[in-house]
């Protein structure tokens, strides 16, 4: 490859450079402030780094574990329900399929509206009470599942559509049981899109703000809400800890993003949905 061609190819990425740089700068700024620098208006004055504070606080671990837990529960439920729904859709006669498209409604609805629906669904009179009472989580998990199951369905259904159902019949004619033919034929098809969808759902329910803001309880708090409170409602001395939480959150997310791309690359047929 000639030099000028590779330069030209690099130029092709210029339009996206500002975005990437801004985001990188945002992360950089977070890291710097997590170290206690660039916070005070007085030149030269700095605060102690925030890591010692959060890593020594049981509350931080609680928030982190709680966020991970909510994300895990939401992911597992979404993947199972979404996949079942996709299978159900696949079995529907062609004529009825257009009506079934309403499964996409949660994809269109913003998270804040999903939050409202969950609030209403939990019973109006005592909505707030029951929600906040549920060990902090059932409302949140239901909201995430309601939103994300459709997403899983979307991806799984896309591959199921290309799956020749006669394979199942053949397997049965050859004497395979329902479970066995599911495991041997259907599962390998379903698993890749379900897994990628799962990672996306996980990342989302791990760090999103909108839904915990509407549905979350005070204790334990989702990480995003904890950071938000520290960032807005404390004085500057709390800033490094808030930023340090964000850095930890960022690193965790990066880990899952890596998992995601590993999964995607393994998928030969290139069904990739970011």
């Amino acid at each position: 490859m000639s030099r000028s061609r590779s330069i030209r190819r690099a130029c092709a990425f210029l339009p996206l450079m500002p975005f990437v740089l801004f985001i990188a700068a945002g992360v950089g700024y977070t890291v710097i402030q997590s170290l206690g620098l660039w916070i005070s208006a007085q030149p030269g004055e700095s605060y102690p780094a925030g890591y010692a504070v959060i890593l020594r606080s049981a509350w931080f671990y609680q928030s982190l574990l709680y966020s991970l837990w909510i994300a895990t529960a939401s992911t597992l439920l979404s993947v199972v329900l979404g996949t079942l729904l996709a299978l159900l859709l696949r079995g529907l006669p062609q004529r009825l399929y257009p009506f079934a498209l309403m499964y996409k409604i949660p994809l269109i609805l913003p998270h804040v509206v999903i939050g409202l629906i969950v609030l209403l669904g939990f019973g109006r009179g005592a909505a707030l009470g029951r929600l906040l009472a549920a060990p902090g989580s059932s409302a949140l998990v239901s909201a995430y599942v309601f939103k994300s199951a459709s997403f899983v369905t979307l991806l799984v259904y896309a591959v199921l559509r290309g799956f020749d159902l006669r394979q199942l019949e053949t397997a049965r004619m050859l004497g395979a049981g329902a479970l066995r033919s599911f495991r041997a034929l259907l599962l390998p098809v379903i698993l890749p899109p379900a897994a990628t969808a799962g990672v996306i759902v996980f990342l989302f329910s791990f760090g999103a703000f909108d839904l915990p803001f509407l549905l979350g309880a005070s204790r334990p708090a989702m990480l995003a809400i904890d950071v938000y409170n520290r960032y807005w409602y404390r004085d500057l001395s709390a800033r490094p800890a808030a930023m340090a939480s964000l850095v930890v959150m960022f690193l965790f997310s990066l880990l899952f993003v890596t998992v995601y791309f590993r999964l995607v690359r393994r998928q030969k047929h290139g069904i990739r949905h970011v």
Binding site: W38, I39, S40, A41, S57, A58, W59, Q62, G125, A126, L128, G129, L132, A133, G136, A217, S218, R219, N229, Y231, W232, Y233, R234, D235, L236
Partner: protein, 407 residues
Amino acid sequence: MKPTERYRLVLLTLAAFLLIACTAQQDVNLLELDYPRIEQQARGGEVRFAMWGGDARINRWVDSYVVPELQQRYDIRLLRVSTDAAQVVNRLLTERQAGRDRGSIDLIWINGENFRRARREDLLFGPYTHLIPNLELTDPEEVSYDWGFPVDGYELPWGRGQFVFEYDSAIINQPPDSIEALDRWIRNNPGRFTYPQPPDFNGAAFIRHLFYYFSGGYRDYLDGFDKERYQQNSAALWDYLREIEPYLWRGGQTYPADKAQLDVLFENGEVDFNMSYTQSGAQGLIDAGRYPPSVRTFVLQRGTLTGIHFTAIPFNAPNKAAAMVVSNFLLSADAQYSKFVPQNWGDFTVLDLDRLSDAQRQRFLELDLGPATLPVDVLAQHSVPEIPAEYVDAMVEDWEREILRRE
């Protein structure tokens, strides 16, 4: 006057006008002007007013009364921005640090710890209040300190709130009007009481009452922040709050995130008490059909906190002149009266009635505050001053550590 002199005068005035036009953004100039000139300069301006947006009635009052009045009287366009003072102060800090001389907020609704923080980091414009004519309608002794912190001309008084508890008299005959009685009531009726999670304004105010109670009253704290004294005296408060937590709504597992959520719990009958820093807010909610007519308010025998809230102008407000005119209007007898009407907002006036004209004073005195509002003299007799702002910050921080995180 000789023609040449007249000519010179015209030139001079022109030059002056040009100068004003060119330096409209320069604050020093503004502080040297007199009020009529400021008002002149403010015409046609736009003011972004950052105010806590959690109360629909307050928002509606601003939108339906203040906005059109300002438009009509001064040709000023007021835009209400729903963010609370803490957020504005936080942002101003970064703007100050980055040297941004042109911000986006012109006026902030502020008091207490946020004002102290803003002053300490030099985030406010001023001193300017000596230029504001309506300041003369207030009692200087009352409005020169904001929770123990000197105002020094950097914020203008706007209203006076007193903390009251709200309850439904159809359910409770004898409201528990002392900390002891309230404590008994909470223990006897598990799950029927809670308070909004600090840093919510009302929740933080509620625990200040307990702090006063456990440490012998407000008199010990009038002379500024004393860290040692605070730490000694606050231990009992945290012990107590931990002790009653199991008797609170949902066993204290969670707290309403803000006043709006407590309102909902109270309206739905999930808890029996609401709390408010607006004396006649309950009456307004009755008239709006949100509360049953049997709702009443009470104060503690040893008194409840009374605080004045203010408006201030950020150091980098793009339109300071118009912001000054707006804050002057908010302090006018007309606007103060409109705000005083329970159906509008119910916030008490910060004006000294003795300094008003007879007609104006009569209006205030004759206003019917409704059966849910305590008589003005009862309120006045049961009023205790706010604590210095540093204590508030410390208490909010400690509440999170001691109660929320249980560390």
